[in-house]
């Protein structure tokens, strides 16, 4: 790749853009909140398939049962519906047989209950807790790994980029009111891995170029390194996105949220390794001496 981009001149603009996006996401997460699914909020979920039936019929049938907050929507293909009942009492699993009986008694059609899930309040709060722990732990593990393999400046820089990715991904989920469930946590963790992967490739090159070109400043080094690895960054993003788009379009309704989160994450993660992780090194005033010091320490 011979036509080189001057990335470092755009760093300031990109950082302002990132800050706005980050702050907006944070505000949405804090004030609008995340739309937790039954995995994290508790409650009952029923996916059913039936012909000649409308959302309103199902809704009115459930209304008669007095279950409290009920959400009915179409799900995937025609005739598929998703019902969500919020946790009202402690004994959620008793309402499943009730609903099943009521439906087969009162709705004049063959109903196929394709999926029934019920998560109690205790389990859902534990799942949420372990999800948060998992994400925090993965960030901490990355911080530690990069700190060992590089220097602390790199480690902090990459973690800020990761934090940026996670918050913005969740922020977009909050803005679009998309459901957060167990598979979204899996997606977020994979995003952490993927974004780190991208950042490491660039950092690796920055380290190499710092050693090679003593006279260049960090902006020039970052520019050079980003350009060196740009082809790889783009090609890998494309192949990963191709695979993810295939899941998003063909993988069915259950994987849609997961693949959407991953697509967001890959795009944001690729952006952040260039425009967030690299400028951080400038902020920390990294020079070739940073690396030398580290080596001296090891020798002594």
């Amino acid at each position: 790749m011979d036509n080189r981009f001057n990335f470092s001149s755009k760093f300031r603009l990109a950082n302002i853009f990132s800050l706005i996006l980050f702050a907006t996401s944070l505000l949405f997460i804090l004030f609008k909140g995340l739309n937790y699914g039954i995995d994290f909020k508790g409650g009952t979920l029923i996916e059913l398939r039936a012909n000649n039936i409308s959302v309103s019929e199902i809704r009115s049938e459930l209304k008669n049962m007095n279950l409290g907050d009920v959400n009915v929507k179409k799900f995937g293909q025609d005739g598929d519906f998703l019902i969500k009942v919020e946790q009202k009492t402690n004994d959620g699993n008793k309402i499943i047989p009730q609903i099943k009986k009521n439906f087969s008694d009162n709705l004049n059609t063959q109903i196929n209950f394709r999926r029934v899930e019920n998560v109690g309040p205790k389990v859902s709060s534990e799942l949420l807790q372990s999800g948060i722990i998992a994400i925090s732990l993965s960030l901490a593990a990355m911080l530690f790994y990069i700190w060992i393999r590089f220097e602390w400046q790199f480690s902090i820089g990459s973690i800020i980029a990761l934090f940026h990715d996670v918050v913005i991904t969740l922020g977009i989920f909050s803005i679009l009111s998309l459901e957060i469930n167990l598979s979204i946590i899996a997606a977020v963790l994979t995003i952490v891995g993927y974004s780190m992967n991208d950042t490491v490739v660039i950092y690796d090159r920055i380290r190499e170029n710092l050693n090679k070109y003593n006279r260049l400043n960090i902006s020039e080094i970052a520019d050079l390194s980003i350009n060196d690895t740009l082809a790889r960054t783009i090609i890998t993003s494309i192949t990963t996105l191709l695979a993810l788009l295939s899941i998003f379009i063909l993988g069915g309704e259950i994987l849609r949220g997961f693949s959407f989160a991953m697509i967001l994450g890959v795009v944001i993660g690729t952006y952040s390794s260039i425009f967030v992780a690299s400028p951080m090194l400038k902020l920390f005033k990294v020079t070739y001496k940073t690396l030398e010091k580290e080596e001296e320490k090891i020798v002594s």
Partner: protein, 514 residues
């Protein structure tokens, strides 16, 4: 980096073929299994029920603390400690004492006694006490004591849950302990878990108690099957523990479903004595605090067997017999999490998962070929090898494949080429400055190595954490993602490198373009 000794080449291809061959085991016909290894399908793909049950040990703790009352009083008396205001609360005992020091010395004596029966073996106290006021103490179960109670209740519950589920006859159930208070149950292929849930929802504590004519002291007011209010004596003549067998039956006289039971020797003795002494009185058969039926004793029953009738349907009689055979649960069980997937949704998931895998795979392969031509072919060969090895390893481990697991495989396909892309791009750079092409390839591989390793280890860390914290389907994702990274490293650094070396070393310098 391009020189492979013969032995290394042999080892690389041996490992590849050895692992990849397992991938094909999944496709062989059922009756011709030479090696019986296969990837298991998760509940979300084959359909079935997942239940998480929790024991509720409240009543058990209450019972256990009451059992401590007599030994404790005796112990205090033996040690000449005066006490007053002895009270039994839900989960604790409170009492007032004057000589507090002596009490403390007794309690923490580090010797086996009636209160702390296993201090010698376990170095832990079963009971603990805390001071609530100057002379009042509250005695409760210690953390260790509670753990022991929960643990034994859980072990016993698992045994009984297993008996009940086996009795219903579902295929290949999984029943596991989860933490201190929970039981995980997986029932593949089960469409409707309601019957199992109903069976596990009953503790099935069965008692035979006499019906008392007056509402005198020591009776419970219970409602019979005919909505009759009866006073039932608290004294238990015989309980479900004395049962050896119970079977559903049809009564010859009125064609009514009944449950016949057989008692052990002790039970038969107790039952015989009680029925001999109380001919003409009514005997209440109480299950979980509800009267099943309360027939009049017509004659002494000494044979050690009997019959329970109570307006059952045949299904109810079958279930009652099953519950009695399996024994009583020590505590009630509650379903705290339930997930049931219908078999047709599972099939749909397999279909859509496989379709997206194939399409994603083709897209990546086409793109790589477009981008790198001949080297794209090498990367693609490595990718196919990678997929075979990934499935092979999953087969060797007999791992469980879930829908997110399939997503993990597709994602691996997308990300696996990264290693080769990194290497090829590096070689491209080296080719610009290096004159010797072989040398350029050599340094390209060498320099890219660290980056490839670093980049993949970060994803591996994420996968490991996901495996540790994820549950069910998500765990399946972590497994495929994690194994995918390892097979990716192997195929990129050994297989693809070997193919590249064959290509580079056998072609004239100028013909090579990447």
């Amino acid at each position: 980096m391009l020189n492979f000794s013969k032995i290394n080449t042999l080892i690389i291809y041996f490992i590849f073929f050895f692992v990849a061959i397992f991938a094909f085991l999944n496709f062989q016909a059922k009756d011709s299994l030479y090696i019986d290894k296969k990837i298991n399908l998760g509940l979300d793909l084959q359909g079935g029920s997942y239940l998480l049950l929790e024991i509720n040990s409240d009543s058990l703790i209450q019972e256990k603390i009451q059992e401590k009352v007599i030994p404790l009083k005796k112990l205090l008396k033996e040690n000449k400690i005066d006490y007053s205001n002895f009270k039994i609360n839900n989960h604790s005992l409170t009492l007032s004492i004057n000589d507090f020091d002596k009490f403390d010395l007794l309690f923490n004596s580090r010797k086996d006694n009636l209160v702390n029966p296993y201090i010698d073996n376990y170095r832990s106290y079963e009971l603990a006490y805390k001071k609530i006021s100057d002379n009042q103490v509250e005695i409760i179960f210690s953390k260790y004591g509670l753990l022991t109670i929960n643990n034994s209740a859980l072990k016993q519950s698992i045994e009984i849950v297993r008996r009940r589920i086996d009795d219903v006859g579902t295929k290949e159930p999984t029943i596991l302990q989860r933490g201190e208070k929970r039981i995980l149950i997986e029932l593949p292929g089960l469409k409707d878990p309601e019957r199992i849930k109903a069976l596990l929802g009953k503790t099935a504590q069965l008692n035979f108690r006499l019906v008392s004519e007056s509402s005198e002291f020591g009776t419970d007011k219970l409602i019979s099957e005919n909505d009759e209010k009866l006073n039932v004596s608290k004294r238990i003549i015989m309980s479900g523990e004395n049962l050896i067998d119970a079977q559903p039956n049809i009564n010859n006289q009125n064609n009514e479903p009944t449950v016949s039971f057989t008692l052990n020797r002790l039970g038969a003795q107790k039952f015989g004595r009680a029925t001999t002494d109380n001919v003409g009185k009514r005997l209440a058969i109480v299950l979980d605090g509800e009267i099943v039926s309360a027939p009049t004793i017509n004659e002494a029953i000494t044979s050690g067997s009997g019959m329970i009738s109570g307006n059952f349907s045949f299904q109810e009689a079958t279930d009652l017999a099953l519950l009695l055979r399996s024994g009583a649960l020590p505590t009630p069980l509650k379903v705290v999490e339930e997930r049931t997937i219908g078999p047709d949704l599972g099939e749909d998931s397999i279909k859509s998962g496989t379709t997206s895998l194939i399409i994603g795979f083709i897209l990546v392969i086409l793109f790589m070929f477009y981008k790198y031509k001949i080297f794209g072919l090498i990367a693609n060969t490595a990718l196919i090898a990678n997929l075979l090895m990934l499935i092979g390893v999953l087969t060797i481990l007999e791992a469980t494949l879930t829908l997110p697991g399939i997503a993990g495989i597709i994602l691996t396909v997308g990300m696996a080429v990264d290693a080769n892309v990194l290497i090829f791009e590096r070689i491209r750079e080296e080719l610009k400055t290096e004159k010797s092409i072989i040398h350029a390839f050599d340094t390209g591989y060498a320099k890219a190595k660290i980056t490839v390793l670093d980049a993949n280890i970060t994803t591996l860390i994420a996968a490991i954490i996901l495996f540790a914290f994820g549950s069910g389907p998500v765990k399946g994702f972590a497994i495929t993602l994690g194994i995918g990274i390892i097979t990716t490293l192997f195929t990129a650094y050994f297989l693809a490198r070997h193919l590249t070396s064959l290509l580079v070393l056998n072609t004239k310098n100028k013909e090579i373009k990447i």
